[in-house]
Symmetry: C2
Subunit: 210 residues, 2 copies
């Protein structure tokens, strides 16, 4: 049933979750679709349409129960289970990611990093030689492989990882990865984001010049 959910709705899920968490942390127990709409900069009817994708969550009386809704989103996003990650590439980006405290709070645990030689991160995580990847994946439950290598080797590394049975790739390398249909890929593209900023800057200049 959930297979039909549009990309736009999927992209909004994290934002719903984040705002609900914010409301809960501020002791707010009820929220209207209007308030959620305002926070996400969409319409209240869009919020209700979004929620309809997941069964509607049964709004009662003056609004949704924040804690219940947060639990629903946590389950939809998959934050109610823990995920084990490995990071391929122990350069600055790989190290930056394993230093993010937010991931652990959400149940994403970095088990190890892999690079050309053995080592350790500042926070004490092991860095293994890439040759040890196969053994590691056989001996540990690896849910997500994070790719922070150079673009030139990313594809080769991903082929190997997929062959070893990892089904989810979080890709920071500036390259389009080809994977089998049962493997999930999410890309973070720095240059695409920078291009959007650049576009907005140019428009801003145009507006100012009018």
């Amino acid at each position: 049933m959930q297979k039909e959910v549009s990309q736009a709705v999927i992209k909004r899920l994290p934002r719903y979750y984040r705002y609900l968490e914010h409301l809960k942390n501020n002791g707010i127990s009820k929220v209207s679709s209007g308030r959620l709409a305002e926070m996400l900069d969409i319409t209240a009817s869009q919020v209700r349409q979004d929620f309809a994708n997941f069964g509607g969550f049964g709004q009662q009386g003056y609004g949704y129960d924040v804690e219940k809704l947060l639990k629903e989103f946590s389950s939809i996003i998959g934050l109610d289970i823990s995920h084990n990650m490995i990071i391929i590439g122990a350069g600055n980006m790989g190290r930056a990611l394993c230093g993010y405290k937010g991931f652990k709070q959400d149940g994403f645990n970095v088990l190890a990093l892999f690079d050309l030689k053995d080592g350790m991160t500042d926070s004490g995580l092991p860095i293994y030689e890439i040759d040890k990847l196969e053994d590691f994946i056989h001996n540990n439950r690896v849910d997500i492989a994070v790719i922070t290598t150079q673009a030139s080797v990313a594809h080769e590394v991903v082929c190997q990882i997929v062959e070893l049975g990892v089904k989810s790739i979080w890709n920071f390398a500036p390259v389009d990865l080809e994977v089998p249909s049962d493997v999930v890929v999410e890309n973070i593209s720095m240059s695409e984001s920078l291009y959007v900023l650049s576009y907005k800057m140019k428009q801003n200049v145009n507006i100012n010049e009018e």
Copy 2:
């Protein structure tokens, strides 16, 4: 006129640019809207609608001229001019960003990084004490400030930067920034991307279990 362009179209601009660059690098001089649509996983009519936002680019005969179209997109995105950047926060993320070769090729030049104390990156870029920010911005043209600080200090830093006249912020800190309406912000949210991956993983599992 370009102010009305939708967020969805803006998000596709970098991908058009990237694919056109790919075509040019492969010696392909003509491209149809159908082929572009295929590459972007949208419909050909959507491509033509997208292009209509920018005057249509006058498709002739068997397709668009790749080189001309690339030039148009380069100008629309603002890649035909150079941009000076400073990076606030010389931790792993800041250092990872200043090591990205792609930025320089696109005319985005990192002038310096700022952190708690003076130093230098592996690639020889200066790191200045944050106290020197004001002097630096007065003496250099800074187009973009990249925020890679902890969330807790990001807002304070951005207030200072905006007061000093910088109009564009590329934000990697996990926090919503409030800025005046003439300041442009583009956020990269690691956790939102990870949540989307997590959601897709969960759906994948559901599909497999059916």
